[in-house]
């Protein structure tokens, strides 16, 4: 059974804005937020990259209760916040699921026919690391503090106090740590919060997680396994000691050698030096069978018409040179949509800003599409939100098709290849858009969208 599938709702939390309206407004103004990394991280390591894109979000304004804030990792909090906006934008009424319940139900829909498809690269690594540090340091800190105060020679105390400061940790080992760190916590939290009892699955596919989740949600609706999919990605990459950042930094993947913070992040530019690490974010789409959407009079943002995924089988951390599997994936996604490459008007590229990614990606785009298709990178604005990025970029693709315009590829002064990069805001007439993601491990995924007229 093959059914038409549309996007009827969206929600987003990002470094440049929370909420679809604000986010899109900031995208079209080429907004980015780039600041020095937290100073305390430099107490633990000499970092080569010193910039990131911080995320400011208010759990209360995302509808998160005090109990949820205490029980959930931020990755799940962000997921709930974006899902709530998406569900409300899709026109569903949120009704308390029961007396004293913190959950909602959606009375207009059969909840057993609603699936949750969610992507994350590292799940609750934030909670794992914060509690790991607590586990390791608590007794050492206590013993050293007693020694410093009671037995250490006065001359050593200042140095010991410096060491004690480095051993700072959370006051408690959190009783909910397991349910906070497990990668499926975000999708589970969304299912619990909105009482959705259809399939509920987590895709842990590094930087492609969001695209894979949207793609699988789309397929589930198309094939009639569900009527509605709440699909997206969420990521939270902060920890007190800069541990997660350091992992990407030592791998040599992050921006460095920049003239200024504002110009450091430059996908597809000759002077690119790596990706801008983002603190995190979340993007969620409500994906719905067309007739189901029409029956309830839902506003339709765009139609989802194709999806494909391939695997490089080459390297954990590098794209296979030549991009053979990426090309196969793009062609398969376009075939899945019953289209030809020349039908595609706009590509939201993976566009990280690393030497390897961007070079391979432009070569493949040139081979498959030539110079006609418009190309931009949402990561040139947000930095890399890892498992959230694909879902946020799917949202950007839908908004670009709907509004006939898209954001620029920021800081692109000297393109590495003469493609049709978006370098100024202008009106155009896109009917078909493609959003693609590639991941550590070698996973490639792309979705194809059509403007809904």
């Amino acid at each position: 059974m093959s059914r038409r599938v549309v996007i009827t709702g969206a929600g987003v939390v990002s470094p440049i804005g929370t909420g679809v309206v604000e986010f899109w407004r900031q995208c079209l103004q080429a907004k980015s937020v780039v600041t020095p990394v937290p100073e305390q991280w430099l107490n633990y390591a000499d970092l080569r990259s010193r910039l990131w894109s911080p995320l400011h979000y208010d759990p209360e304004s995302l509808g998160i209760t005090r109990a949820e804030r205490l029980q959930l990792d931020p990755v799940a909090v962000l997921a709930i916040g974006a899902a709530r906006e998406a569900i409300q934008r899709a026109g569903f009424t949120l009704v308390p699921a029961g007396e004293r319940s913190r959950a909602f139900s959606l009375p207009e829909v059969d909840s057993s026919r609603v699936g949750v498809y969610f992507g994350t690269g590292i799940g609750g690594a934030h909670s794992f690391l914060q509690n790991h540090v607590q586990h390791l340091y608590q007794r050492t800190h206590e013993a050293l503090k007693v020694y410093s105060e009671e037995r250490a020679p006065a001359v050593d105390r200042e140095r010991l106090n410096g060491i004690l400061a480095l051993l700072a940790h959370l006051p408690r080992y959190h009783p909910f740590v397991v349910s906070m760190l497990m990668p499926n916590a975000a999708s589970a939290a969304v299912g619990i919060k909105f009482s959705l009892t259809g399939p509920n699955v987590t895709y842990c596919v590094a930087c492609a997680s969001g695209t894979v989740a949207v793609g699988h949600g789309y397929r589930a609706v198309r094939e009639g396994r569900v009527d509605l999919a709440v699909a997206g990605g969420s990521e939270y990459l902060y920890d007190e000691h800069g541990h997660i950042f350091r992992g990407f930094d030592v791998a040599g993947t992050l921006v460095r050698d920049y003239a200024s913070a504002e110009s450091a992040n430059r996908p597809f530019d000759e002077k690119r030096s790596g990706f801008l690490f983002s603190q995190g974010g979340a993007g969620v789409l409500v994906i719905e069978e067309l007739e189901h959407a029409k029956r309830r009079g839902a506003a339709i943002m765009a139609e989802l018409i194709g999806y494909a995924e391939t695997f490089d089988a080459h390297s954990m951390m590098s794209l296979a040179p030549g991009g053979e599997q990426i090309e196969r994936m793009i062609r398969a996604a376009i075939t899945d949509a019953n289209l030809l490459p020349r039908d595609v008007d706009y590509i939201n590229a993976h566009g990280t800003g690393t030497k390897n990614n961007d070079q391979t990606e432009v070569e493949v785009i040139d081979r498959v599409f030539g110079k006609s298709v418009r190309v931009n990178s949402t990561k040139s604005l947000l930095g890399h939100t890892i498992g959230a990025s694909g879902a946020i970029e799917a949202l950007v693709t839908a908004l670009s098709l709907r509004d006939g315009t898209t954001h620029i590829c920021k800081n692109l002064d000297t393109p590495i290849l003469d493609l049709n990069f978006v370098r100024s805001i202008e009106r155009f007439d896109p009917r078909i858009g493609l959003s693609q993601s590639f991941a550590f491990g070698g996973h490639n995924a792309a979705i194809v969208l059509r403007r809904f007229d």
Binding site: T65, A67, L70, Q71, R100, S101, P171, R172, F176
Partner: protein, 84 residues
């Protein structure tokens, strides 16, 4: 009894178990009267740790049954020096 402590404990309990503060009485049992689950109760103590900036080990609270037990416990706890 410090009325301010009691007020803050009531507020936390009401937020965690999603009841009006007016529904909470000192003699109410967390489990029987307020129907707080074991997860709710753990969350209440995490929230109390944050609110009063004291560490509350689980083995110190296993015998607390009523709201008054908690208020009394917190009252004693805040007499202890604050961790630096």
């Amino acid at each position: 009894m410090n009325a301010n402590v009691q007020q803050r404990v009531f507020k936390i309990i009401s937020e965690i178990i999603n009841r009006e503060e007016s529904e909470i009485r000192l003699d109410a049992s967390l489990q029987k009267d307020l129907q707080a689950s074991s997860l709710d109760q753990m969350t209440i103590f995490i929230a109390l740790e944050d609110e009063f900036e004291r560490t509350i080990p689980q083995d110190e609270v296993t015998d607390l049954r009523t709201v008054k037990d908690i208020v009394d416990f917190i009252h004693k706890k805040i007499q202890e020096p604050s961790p630096t």
